[in-house]
Symmetry: none
Subunit: 185 residues, 4 copies
Amino acid sequence: MPPISTRDHLIRTAATLFRQKGYSGVGLAEILAVAGLPKGSLYHHFPGGKRELAEAATLWVGKMIEKMVDRAFEDATDFQEGAIRTCQSVERLTVQEDQVLACPVMSMLQAVSQEPELRDVARTVLADWKSCLAGHAARLGMDDPDLEAEQLLVLLQGTWILALAEQSGAPFERLAERLSHHRQA
Amino acid sequence: MPPISTRDHLIRTAATLFRQKGYSGVGLAEILAVAGLPKGSLYHHFPGGKRELAEAATLWVGKMIEKMVDRAFEDATDFQEGAIRTCQSVERLTVQEDQVLACPVMSMLQAVSQEPELRDVARTVLADWKSCLAGHAARLGMDDPDLEAEQLLVLLQGTWILALAEQSGAPFERLAERLSHHRQA
Amino acid sequence: MPPISTRDHLIRTAATLFRQKGYSGVGLAEILAVAGLPKGSLYHHFPGGKRELAEAATLWVGKMIEKMVDRAFEDATDFQEGAIRTCQSVERLTVQEDQVLACPVMSMLQAVSQEPELRDVARTVLADWKSCLAGHAARLGMDDPDLEAEQLLVLLQGTWILALAEQSGAPFERLAERLSHHRQA
Amino acid sequence: MPPISTRDHLIRTAATLFRQKGYSGVGLAEILAVAGLPKGSLYHHFPGGKRELAEAATLWVGKMIEKMVDRAFEDATDFQEGAIRTCQSVERLTVQEDQVLACPVMSMLQAVSQEPELRDVARTVLADWKSCLAGHAARLGMDDPDLEAEQLLVLLQGTWILALAEQSGAPFERLAERLSHHRQA
DNA sequence: AATGAATGAGCTTTCATTCAT
DNA sequence: AATGAATGAAAGCTCATTCAT
């Protein structure tokens, strides 16, 4: 495995910081400092500057979560089981040692008024997640896969906000529990 | 009805701008310019500066939405009916002529890393909404009012994010429809 | 006489620096440092930033030179005498202790590709100078005042460039001498 | 005729850009981009960096104009005729399709405070032009060739500035006309 | 209570240059 | 000879806040 490139290093560092503080709340100086890179090294890899970096970071997290959803649904025997596992995975990925990271989509949506292109990235990531979920719903025999996908997406996003406010994974656990009751019923 | 005070004018202007652009995305100069107030006039009404203004603005929108929820549940004969009406009201309040405003709680949560006190306001508003919903759920005979309240809150918040990404009220309408089906079932 | 305002102080400092180093060759930090003003104090007086400051500085020097031309022509009995005195005045004003300052119009013209509005200021100043000279030419009985004005303007500008290259007022003195011979002829 | 070398290509591209935007107004990145050359390829041809490139570009334009002057005087029967033709040639060379290029000497003079060596190039080019003009003046029987040369140089430089401000070749045409009247008189 | 000026830290971005390959 | 990456200083500008009046 090759050592991660400067570009990837920047993307990962930025991704976390944007989720912690929002797009406008993070300065490039901070990103570079956390990444341990010198000030001038950003515009070689991201000529579009902060916006291009944010786009790359958001897409990167988006793909990461999408893979995680695929893994959660891998061995599921029905959609509800996959939904519960997804919920648990999102919690695991989101609740870090001492803080809860926001959904990257949410962070970008707040910055749209300053960088209109960021809305497209947010939309792309949401659409990818939805079609990923819809695929699993279809495969597992749900009547209306798109409806199921959107419903789960909404639940996860809403729960994410509660988790952010409470600074705890508990809302995700409560959602998982509600989904379990639903399944048994 | 007396003309609204300078203080209230500031609060309302700031509330909309923070929901449009996020806490870090709006400068005090912009708020004062939009409000048509002179540069130095903020710190008389809000000695705590930007943070205190944001707190007041968030609480003000929080209360406004809470009253709106009460009105939505006023004549409801069951919780689902109130939920559907709430959903429609949030859509009406959020989808402006040419844009969709974010939930004020979401805007504040993104700024917490810079202004830790803002998390308390976000938590307060969420708690108020939840207990308001739980009150209606209890009054309308639901088994577990708190669970119903959290569930609806999660659905609304998640839908809000989809509406923000799509820049349309359609997600709220789809949620209302899903809630209707649920009710009939 | 009141002490010069911060705004005027900035204008005078900037005017000299722009003539020394050109528009792109001077930084705002340098202007403020030379003026002894703190970094943030510029945008109150010049919300348009560097460009607005350059415009004000250019117009200020333009007016100063125009007054000087009027003084040079005040007691002149014919146009050639006024022209010679103007030439001497421009030299006196341009050749400082240890350097020759450029014509402010020339400094702005080089920056037009970056700040297109600066061309208008340059044109305005040139037009003012020309009509000022034409007025004196008409008053002193020249046949074609506009032609005389443009001819003198061209001679002064061209001489200015030679003086700049030589770092000396000698080209102005040679021009004055040529104008004298012309007069006697 | 061999294809122009990379070095010459750089010189020509830089010459035009410096005349358009001034020395400080052009970045090396822009020069290389316009020339279609890779980022690192400049310091092989010009170890002295931007300054050395500017020197070469200025000298190159200087020589080009000098040859043009020689051509203008080639078949002239008196100095005034050559002067008029020179004036027309400078106009043709300076007024491009959609813009007027500055005299390279003027562009360099504005950068002297940052790169003192550039004054020498400006002086060299001016001296070459002057002795070129003086040679023709002597050959064509003028009494004081140096005086005639400087006078014409001054007129051309001054006219150049007016043309730059007006963004038109008209000042050159008016100069040519004035020179014609002079000749007939 | 009200206000225009002032303030310096911070912002994103561009700069000319150097270096390893 | 050639080149993409790296580099940190400096660019113009905005920031939330303080102050004198």
